[in-house]
Symmetry: C2
Subunit: 221 residues, 2 copies
Amino acid sequence: MPSSTVENYLKHILLLSEGAQDLVSMGDLAVALAVVPGTATTMIKALAREGYVAHQPRQGVSLTPTGRTVALSVLRKHRLVETFLVNVLKMDWASVHAEAEQLEHSISDEVLDRLDALLGYPATDPHGDPIPSRKGKLNFQVYASLATCALKQPLRIVRITEQTTEFLQFADQNHLLPGSTLIVTGRNLPAGLATIKTTGTRALALSITAAGKILVEPLRR
Amino acid sequence: MPSSTVENYLKHILLLSEGAQDLVSMGDLAVALAVVPGTATTMIKALAREGYVAHQPRQGVSLTPTGRTVALSVLRKHRLVETFLVNVLKMDWASVHAEAEQLEHSISDEVLDRLDALLGYPATDPHGDPIPSRKGKLNFQVYASLATCALKQPLRIVRITEQTTEFLQFADQNHLLPGSTLIVTGRNLPAGLATIKTTGTRALALSITAAGKILVEPLRR
DNA sequence: TAAATTATTTTGACTACTCAAAATAGCGCA
DNA sequence: TGCGCTATTTTGAGTAGTCAAAATAATTTA
């Protein structure tokens, strides 16, 4: 049984490789886990010995099938717990991430399955992040973000890819939740700004970086 | 913030001193925690240094007010989680103890309060064990057990003071749950047996040891 | 009262994880 | 071709918790 430290390493490798690149650097991993780079290297060597990851020295690290299975299971627990905390316990959207971070390591598969049923087998968590299936399938879909989508098109928010309380609170206060609709009225790349308009006719400016964290799909598809 | 190891030590000291004796021996504590006695001694010395316990060398250990507060909080989490697992997730009465043992260390006060409200502020868990209040009051009440109560009196089970899956399954199968009614028809102390009759008119023999773990109160009070 | 039994404590060692700081490798660039 | 920058790895050391086994204290028994 992997320790919760091991689970965290594997989960973060999965998250960091989500977008695309197959090799996660020690630097990125160390930042994600809030440890110094040397610690990450040491730990990764141990995880490689135990068959959870493949380590290309000085290149980066990737998950083995075994490691990926563990990581997906942890991610499933994390996202189902978040959904439970928001949907059933009515907790604040922005603060459940830290809670789930703890709970994901101590919840059994039995409890998880019952939670899943209680919630009606949700496909995504409250932030729009896809929940891996029991058998470890992660429904990964490539969406445009507010930084890359077409201008002046009606859009629906499908996902917020950022877990910090501050960002989520900002999103919440400005009605930028999964399901909300809006249009991007313009972009000023030199200034690094995007301007949007939500259905409540409110205009809002956003940095391109922040806009990149809000994923959308065209409204009528 | 005490580690989950520390929380476990404190919780078990509280449980072992519940009945009465103020000093818990290293031997008993080591058995409860499944460690060797030397480990318990070492750990207790550290806990004493940190102000959680008072250690009388070669006599035993007791909780300081600080330690007791921590222990009660853990016990509250444990029992509320058990109640949630049984009442909401409909899990098996006999198996929730092990689950709660993990969850009790990773649940926040915020989540706990909401769970408490969801459950309707229960006074006891599914086994009849009293749930400490938020402010750390433990409603400890002395009940008779099937080993000590009067014979041929109608009784109601209020509590099962044993958490092993096997015992709880046995109790479940024989309708010995909190709330069930029965009478003790006789006792044979030399043989170490008690005979009882449940409302379903079934007769059953039980060791005195087992009988001592089932606490009861007289039916009409 | 002394010997024997039993419980507790001490000692030395090990695992898992971490950091600080020095050593090394790979890279871009002149 | 070699210099310097940056990321990575290595080294040495520390913390938390654990065990095995030897040492010590207390209690029982004779």
